[in-house]
Each structure stands twice: as structure tokens, then as C-alpha cells.
Assembly symmetry: C2
Homo-oligomer: 225 residues x 2
DNA sequence: GTAAGAAATATTGTATACTGTATTGACATT
DNA sequence: AATGTCAATACAGTATACAATATTTCTTAC
């Protein structure tokens, strides 16, 4: 990488607690740590080659992200999610997505809208290649762009929190037949609403988008069993 | 309080980190700790008579509640809130309140609705006594009851998080002339919507309720300066 | 063999000690 | 006086030590 005159990236330092936090979060989200699994401070500290202090702080952070449960004097364990939890989360997400999309209709800059439209082609390519991983990646970018355009820090923050909790289900969901095609269609409607600066329409479409996602995730969960 | 045969309240133990957390949160919310103020671990530990460990953990928790800002290797300080932050929070709250009220229209139990209606009299009494403190207290109960009725844990949790951040402004806001009367009127509309099981109406009224609150808080802030 | 209870162990809670970095202030240089 | 340098200090980051409690294992009584 070419260095600029003034080194921007002066901040290569990350406290161990953040390293541990990221490591554990990744492990939980990718299923390396399973729901219900106990997380013992000493064991984690040894495995990660650090002391208990940063591990403890990381666990506190994971608790507030709702990824682990902390019982005083008992310890931590990876939180399991019931079907109801997922429905609850998606219900809230629907409200946030509605707000975000309606705000995007009002506030999104033309150049950002262009980027959104450019994603359409990427989506279609991913679909035709049946590249679920890539698809999910672009999907994340797509929704992120919408929330970013609202310039509402709090809204963005809450959305990210919800998304992390659904992370474990995002792949399996998109793998289902015809789901990707439907999602692409929804996204097109969302883009059109933003183009037309039609907040009402944007909100409505966003709601039905998440409604579809909810149904699709539930269908998947029922099939799995 | 009368003790039951089996002591329910077996859990009198609270980790120090939670004690410190509560203490600091209270201090911030009641203005004993002012925005911008530095929070030094040693100093706090001394003052509270504990070691640095629980203080550090409490600070991490306060960070995730967005009450303090933590800069690595610099320390913590009480977060200041700009007008934009408040507007952002209220924008999100409006979406959540809309969702909650519309769900309440569908799901609230008859007996809980009765409780809500019973609050009307309390509100009116507080207004006639010009008892702002009491008014704010009932107001909190009122909205809490609505969110509780949704039975959506995630929604309740996010609502509480937002409310804490607005806590500092809730009194000053209600103190303004005629604000309390308007709020009571809004609440009546909300109750009516729930009674009629009219989700659409509930959502609309909730939105306008928060819109009013936003305008009123902003007006207050501008007058203060 | 099972249940109750006590000892042993494991684990979290808390305090303290140590390390490294950022800040501050004194002093020197210009 | 303004600026730069270095030492002193204060502070957060991390590790470790100790205390308290939960869990497990092992007896012992029946």
C-alpha cells in the first residue's frame, strides 16, 4: 500500500478486549461456538493467550450485543435463539427498515442512488452464478447503503445490532429456491421508490420485504426439523 | 413487606460492577456528572470504595448504553448529546412507538387496557396539581405498559435503551406550559385506538405523539439558549 | 444401590501489581 | 517569546493474586 504524506492509519492499536471480542463474536456467528456452550474465562484466556481481564471485558460486551448470557457467579454461555426471538427481532427490524427506507426516499444523494442501482447487476450475476455467499454480501451492502443515507446514527447503530443477531441465519435463508430472485425484485421496488422520492411507497415496500424474509426464515426453520 | 414462605428475593447479591454501573448511570442521568466530564478509573474506584476492576467493567457497560464515550488509552467521559442526537433518537423512537402501539391494539389484554384507562385519572390529577415529577412518572408507566403488551422482548429492550438516553430531558420538557395537557389528550387517543383495536389509528397517533414531543423538546432547548 | 452431606475442585468476583503510553511541565535552544 | 526536547507523572491496559461461591466428587449412612 502506498503511504500518503501524512499517515492516516496511525491507529493500528486495538486493545486486547476488542481483539477477544471480535474473535469470540466471529466464533459465535460462524457456529464455531454453539448456542448453550459455556464460555469459561480461564479456558478462553489460555486459548487466546491473554489474561482473564480482557476476556471478562469482552464477555461483558458480547452480553450487551445479546450474543452471550451472563449469570452472576455462574458464568457465560452462548445465547440460543428461539423462533420467537427471531420473529421479534424481525418485527423490530421491519419498523426500522420502514423508517430507513422512507428517510432514504427523502434524503439519499443522487450519487448514492446510482451506487444502489449499480448493485442490481451484481445481484443478478450472483443469482445466475448461484453464488449465495456473494449474494448475501451484496445484500448487506444494499441495506447498509439505505441506512447510511438516513444519516441517523442511532438508527444505523440499532440496525447493525439487529443484523448481527440474525447473521447466523442469513445464509441458510438465501439458499432456498427462488428466494434470491424474489429479493432482487424487492430491491428493485425499493430503488424505484427512492428514485421517485416516494416515502410512503418506500416504507410499504420495505415492510413487505422484511415480511417475506420472516416467512422465508420460518419456512426454512420448519423444514430443517 | 410481607415475606412469603419461600423467600422470593433470594437474590440480594449484585456484583460490584452492577452497583457501580447503577451508581454512575444515576449520576449521569440526574446531572451529578456532567457531559464532557472525565471519568477516571482510579478516582472513581477510590470514591466508591472498590477496586478498578468493577469500575472498568461498569464503564464498558455505560459505553454500550451510550452514556459515556471510551477512547482507548485516553479514558472515559460522559457523552454529550447534540440536538441532532436527540432528534435522531426520537426519530427511531417514533418508529418503535408506532410499532408498539399498533401491536398493542392487536394484543393488549382487556385487564391491561383497564389499567391504562385508570391512569387517565392519575394524569389529570398530576396536571391539576402541577406535579411534573409525578406526571413524568405515570407517563413512563403508560408507555411501558404499551410496550409490555407487545410481548416483544427485543422491542421492549430497544425502547428502554432509547428512553434512558432521553431521561435527562424528560422533566424540563414536561414543565412547559400546556405540554402536559396535550400529552394527556394524546394518551386518550392512544387508549381509544387500542379500545377499538384499530392498529392503523394507533400507529398514526403514536407517531404524532412523538412528533409533538420532538417539537416540544426542541422548542425548550432553543429557549434555554 | 441411593441419598445426604462433606471435602475437594473449579470458576467467578475483586483487588493489586506491573507495563506501556500519553500528557504535562521544566528546561534548553533559537 | 516561541519552539523543541526530555524527564516526570498520570493514566489506561494487562496480568496475576487472592477471596468467595458454585459445582463436582467422594464418603458415609441407610
Amino acid at each position: 500500500m502506498i503511504e500518503t504524506k501524512f499517515n492516516i492509519n496511525t491507529n493500528e492499536y486495538l486493545p486486547l478486549r476488542d481483539v477477544v471480542f471480535n474473535t469470540l463474536r466471529d466464533a459465535i456467528l460462524t457456529g464455531k461456538l454453539l448456542p448453550g456452550e459455556r464460555l469459561m474465562e480461564n479456558q478462553l484466556a489460555d486459548k487466546l493467550g491473554v489474561s482473564r481481564t480482557p476476556v471478562r471485558e469482552a464477555l461483558r460486551m458480547l452480553e450487551l450485543e445479546n450474543l452471550v448470557e451472563l449469570v452472576p457467579r455462574k458464568g457465560a454461555q452462548v445465547l440460543d435463539m428461539s423462533e420467537k426471538d427471531i420473529v421479534d427481532i424481525l418485527e423490530v427490524r421491519s419498523a426500522l427498515e420502514g423508517l430507513a427506507t422512507s428517510l432514504a426516499c427523502k434524503k439519499m444523494k443522487r450519487e448514492d442512488l446510482q451506487k444502489l442501482k449499480a448493485m442490481e447487476a451484481d445481484f443478478e450475476q450472483a443469482v445466475s452464478e448461484r453464488n449465495v455467499e456473494r449474494f448475501v454480501e451484496i445484500d448487506e451492502e444494499f441495506h447498509d447503503a439505505i441506512f447510511e443515507s438516513t444519516e441517523n446514527v442511532k438508527l444505523i447503530q440499532m440496525f447493525r445490532n439487529l443484523r448481527i443477531q440474525l447473521y447466523r441465519y442469513r445464509m441458510a435463508h438465501a439458499k432456498q429456491d427462488s428466494v434470491m430472485t424474489t429479493i432482487v425484485a424487492h430491491h428493485r421496488s425499493i430503488i424505484r421508490a427512492i428514485e421517485n422520492r416516494d416515502s410512503e411507497e418506500g416504507s410499504t415496500v420495505a415492510h413487505s420485504h422484511i415480511k417475506f424474509q420472516t416467512e422465508s426464515i420460518l419456512r426454512m426453520m420448519h423444514e430443517k426439523q
